[in-house]
Symmetry: C2
Subunit: 549 residues, 2 copies
Amino acid sequence: VPPTALSERSLSANGWGFAGTSFPPPAALLSWLAERLGATAPRSAVDPTAVVLPAARPLPELPAAVSAEPMDRLLHARGRGFSDLVRLRSGRLPAAPDAVARPADAGEVEALIQACSRHGLRAIPWGGGTSVTGGVNTLAGAAPAVVVDLAGVAGLRRLDARAGLATFGGGTTGPALEASLAPHGLTLGHFPQSWELSTVGGWAATRSSGQESLAVGRIEELVAGLELVAPAGRLSLPALPASAAGPDLRRLALGSEGRLGVITEVTVRVRPRPAERRIEALLLPSWEAGQEAVRVLSRSGIDLQMLRLSDPAESEVALATGLGGHSWEPLARGWLRLRGVGSEACLLLVGGAGSVVAADEALDDARAFLRRQLGRGGVVSLGQRPGRRWLADRFRHPYLRDGLLDRGIATDTLETAAPWSALPGLWSAVRGALVGGLPGEAVPVLCHVSHVYPDGASLYFTFFFRAAADPEEDIARWAVLKRTATEALLAAGGTLSHHHGVGSWHAPWLHREVGEAGLRILRAAAREVDPAGVLNPHVLLDPVDRLEE
Amino acid sequence: VPPTALSERSLSANGWGFAGTSFPPPAALLSWLAERLGATAPRSAVDPTAVVLPAARPLPELPAAVSAEPMDRLLHARGRGFSDLVRLRSGRLPAAPDAVARPADAGEVEALIQACSRHGLRAIPWGGGTSVTGGVNTLAGAAPAVVVDLAGVAGLRRLDARAGLATFGGGTTGPALEASLAPHGLTLGHFPQSWELSTVGGWAATRSSGQESLAVGRIEELVAGLELVAPAGRLSLPALPASAAGPDLRRLALGSEGRLGVITEVTVRVRPRPAERRIEALLLPSWEAGQEAVRVLSRSGIDLQMLRLSDPAESEVALATGLGGHSWEPLARGWLRLRGVGSEACLLLVGGAGSVVAADEALDDARAFLRRQLGRGGVVSLGQRPGRRWLADRFRHPYLRDGLLDRGIATDTLETAAPWSALPGLWSAVRGALVGGLPGEAVPVLCHVSHVYPDGASLYFTFFFRAAADPEEDIARWAVLKRTATEALLAAGGTLSHHHGVGSWHAPWLHREVGEAGLRILRAAAREVDPAGVLNPHVLLDPVDRLEE
């Protein structure tokens, strides 16, 4: 994993990630979509430098470096969810932060947050700004809004190699974090799709899960200790391997999305850096057989890094595009037909890591296990080339949305998780809700099992629809799909989110998962540390449907 | 593990566990103690039927079966910590519950708790009553106290074999829980020392850890969902494999020790029952080399069930007693001297489980790994006999305290955990605090690493002192030792408790671990669900030192 110095690359003001980086939609994907959506009209984005933001309101003197430059305000106005991209591309933003503050350390964060509390200013913590749930958006509101950019509260602070504990400033990005561990032969191993941009504080605040969580665990398991700064004071929770000293307040901080404080420091559990990462692509006979095979494989004790099982539709697209650009159809198709692989076939990526020998051994063991499970003919290996391609592109996939929007194709993803027994019903329900969500319009849907646990798994859906001429119309259609899919997934026993968090967009549904009693407890905790309610007030606990704001 | 029907065995009213069960101190232990403490005078316990309790105060009508029988009140007056045993044996109790309520289901628990809230009655949830931290004690107080015995809210409710999820009533004991899983070939694998008596709700409430947590995880990892009943309503958290839907409120319930509600239902992650359990005893050259060996072994990927490393003093006692009754000294000592094992040698128990082949393979791998680490001569195997003895006796060890008290020897345990780097200093500090804790008196101390994690481990201390003639004097001395050891362990970076919980005895120190901000959040949550403050009011959040109450 090459380290990337964020400061050396400028960010895109109206798309995912870095300016100048793109991931053009593969021709095979475009033709697959054209078959379903028909022809679409190209759509351009307005020049960000020409965007006129709502006027910045005057602010009192704040105890940190503060900028009200238009480009700064624009770059910190929204996360990078679907409606964010549409609004940023259209240049019509209903609101923007009145200032961007850049505290230099936890002390400045504390002084800044307290000043916000005194003056009734909204304070919106900002890590990588990659939220896809409206988690960092500045919405219209009477109280002026200050984005608290944590880029200055970053870097490795302490390394305890014997215990395998590394302490970072909350604003440390994925590449900076791994780059500071690499010289010690260590890794965190937490690789969410946003890894190049997002921060360890952001991962903790949103209960993030990396693509290799099968091997290293979710961020909850990786965080040993942390420090939160709120108007009422600091919450410092030391790094401990385990404890029974009352409820684990780390777990209340994890997922608190700014409502309980700004995460200024995180101590994570690190491990030896694997020498090698290997991914094998396999085809399994069907979605049902695939789920069952993955379920038992995940309980087999074989030391795997990743299991990623695509449903038939996603498998078809993945095979057609060669997993991103290098199509090896129609050769592969012909060969697969010879092997008896039909249209129900599902693509499974199996990852192993460690020494070269260990990684290969894990893949050999997994393949042999699956062949015992499904019969020799039920498991067709496609080798390691698709996996290498996937690995090379994994942080570029989000750029695909921008390229599709350029071509008039709207796309978004959503995800959930449930016990194994509920998974088939959950898949049908969410898929059905999306496919039928826009009457008279095609909504193609792809899905994969992205994270696997002994008791269940997550489902990650990608859906597409024709972009309208009017951005507000795009957002309205997208909101319809989000609402119907969210209702469907909750009714089918899925969680509101497996790894994207709640933000402002999922917040109206949170009571369905944790109950009114759960919400009351969270509100009481937030009130206690933030009596004026200035910390990221529209996320997590705000019951208003803000999908279209 | 044979199932034990609790209802068929009556409980001891003034000692650990079941009436008529005992674990007489081995002669070798008594002589080891006599060498250090000198001769001690036998001490008898008063007949429980002759104990006169403070008069039960009249209560309003309550919506559950209620008993004010003296023996019921006595059996539910205290947990089974050191001062509890001393008070129960002396027959002098400062307080007792005014009634014992036995709700039949979660609905009755809810009605009962609401009635307690309306009438200002303390409600003390009771599972197995095995707390060693004052966690279920009825203390003197103006508000009448009702113990809520959950024996009726028990049993397997649902089993989802595909997901490996089993839902139990909160009052289900360890043996009942395993007995209902056994016909399905499943196990929870959670075996705290109190397992024969304690309940799944109690494990959850106190963040319990079982002796095989290395293989199955702590109770936090085993609980997938749960239901709490509080005066303000029910908190029902569904079983999910993973989620990012805000902070995980399960982790706020886990460790809440009754303050956030009564745990009426728990869904746990179960797994296939291992055919075999094997434990090998090894001698390692020193405490320091042993800790380092265990640290790297725990990161080796070898699939172990248990690692338990005794310090030199505990190793000496364990070898002398043959780990409980069957002494094979002096033969073993002579042989060990031949092998060059000196007085610094440390006993390591290594557990493997699974099929017979897998269990043996794990032990072979571990032994080979340790010999690579420490050299062939550094690892002396004592075979599997000590482990079989330990396994046979593991739930009987707590009875030892009663047998020692009969002989005028006071003993208690305490435990903590810390990162590996802090462990040697933690051991010295706590050991030093205890050894020097009673000026002019010998306090022999034993210790072992009881639970191992990638980033650290727990330390479990056992200490002894001469019992005084007066029970109050015993308790005062014990309180001195608890205070000095607790100060020492916190100052050395240890957690207040690794698996015994906070209760009332550790509560005055909780702020040292979670800070004032942490305490404020917990208090706000408790206030929200229990505005009248009736739920177990002296535990967790009560800052008063109640060691001597």
